[in-house]
Point group: C2
Chain length 139, copies 2
DNA sequence: CATAAATTTGTAATCATTTCATTTATTAAT
DNA sequence: ATTAATAAATGAAATGATTACAAATTTATG
């Protein structure tokens, strides 16, 4: 996705494609690292002159409201963001703190018996040790 | 579960059954309300003389480490606790903020293809509007 | 009982996030 | 283009949950 495509994508979802918004969305879709606000800030501060952390909070909150990003609450003390809003699960490694996506077909998602409930969001996540870190520990 | 059973349960899981620990665990298993630390504090302060919020944090962290309680990270700004450590999902209502358990059989849980990963925890949660609040809105 | 070890307490520190008033950028109209 | 009106970005200060830590208390052990 280049700047043009990102702008179009935001516009289609009711988000005015302003400079910083486009750059932050571009960061999310190109890095796919499920970053915290701090990670985004440290990486983009070099690229965007005079970027403020508050702006990142504002933009991300807007993204989440507009359904172009997900807020992941895996650990209690940090929110991580994901531009992939399709159905998928997340694995968080306790050692390296990295988050890895894994595909789940919608049909595989268990459907709970909740008569009369309106379900807006489904989240499925795992915690453990990723294969890379597991290998390190063995060695 | 009475005090005796709770003490035995804690002991079996490597947690010394001290007074406040037993009372906090008793609260969790009897109320089943997925409380925050503040909810536990406001309810138990009347019952336990000179209870400190720090103690609740300490005890809950110990419970989670010892696998006798789960820390639920559904909303970014609060951790909620659950003494039911068996496989089940959680639904959080956006309106009344209540959390409702729902059964999922272990077999129904989707198994991701994560070769060489060690999976310690599985979490499945939904957000939306519960039937009770949905009815209110309609009316 | 007395002592040592573990736990609880309360205050202060920390950290992520939000609030808010001000400044700056963007859009629309002239 | 210029200007006026609107929306967004900024930074400092406030908030709120959680943790750190030293002192006081409780629990287990000889």
């Amino acid at each position: 996705m280049d700047q043009q495509q990102i702008s179009a994508y935001l516009l289609k979802n009711g988000v005015r494609p302003l400079q910083k918004r486009v750059k932050i969305m571009n960061y999310l879709v190109s890095k796919r690292n499920h970053p915290t606000v701090d990670m985004i800030y440290s990486d983009l501060i070099h690229e965007i002159n005079g970027l403020s952390k508050t702006t990142i909070y504002n933009v991300l909150n807007l993204f989440v409201e507009s359904n172009v990003a997900l807020a992941l609450n895996i650990e209690g003390n940090e929110i991580r963001y994901d531009a992939d809003t399709s159905a998928h699960g997340h694995f968080k490694c306790k050692i390296c703190t990295g988050i890895i996506d894994f595909r789940i077909k919608k049909e595989e998602m268990p459907v709970p018996m909740l008569e009369g409930f309106r379900i807006d969001e489904q989240h499925y996540y795992l915690k453990g040790v990723c294969s890379f870190c597991a290998n390190k520990i063995e060695a």
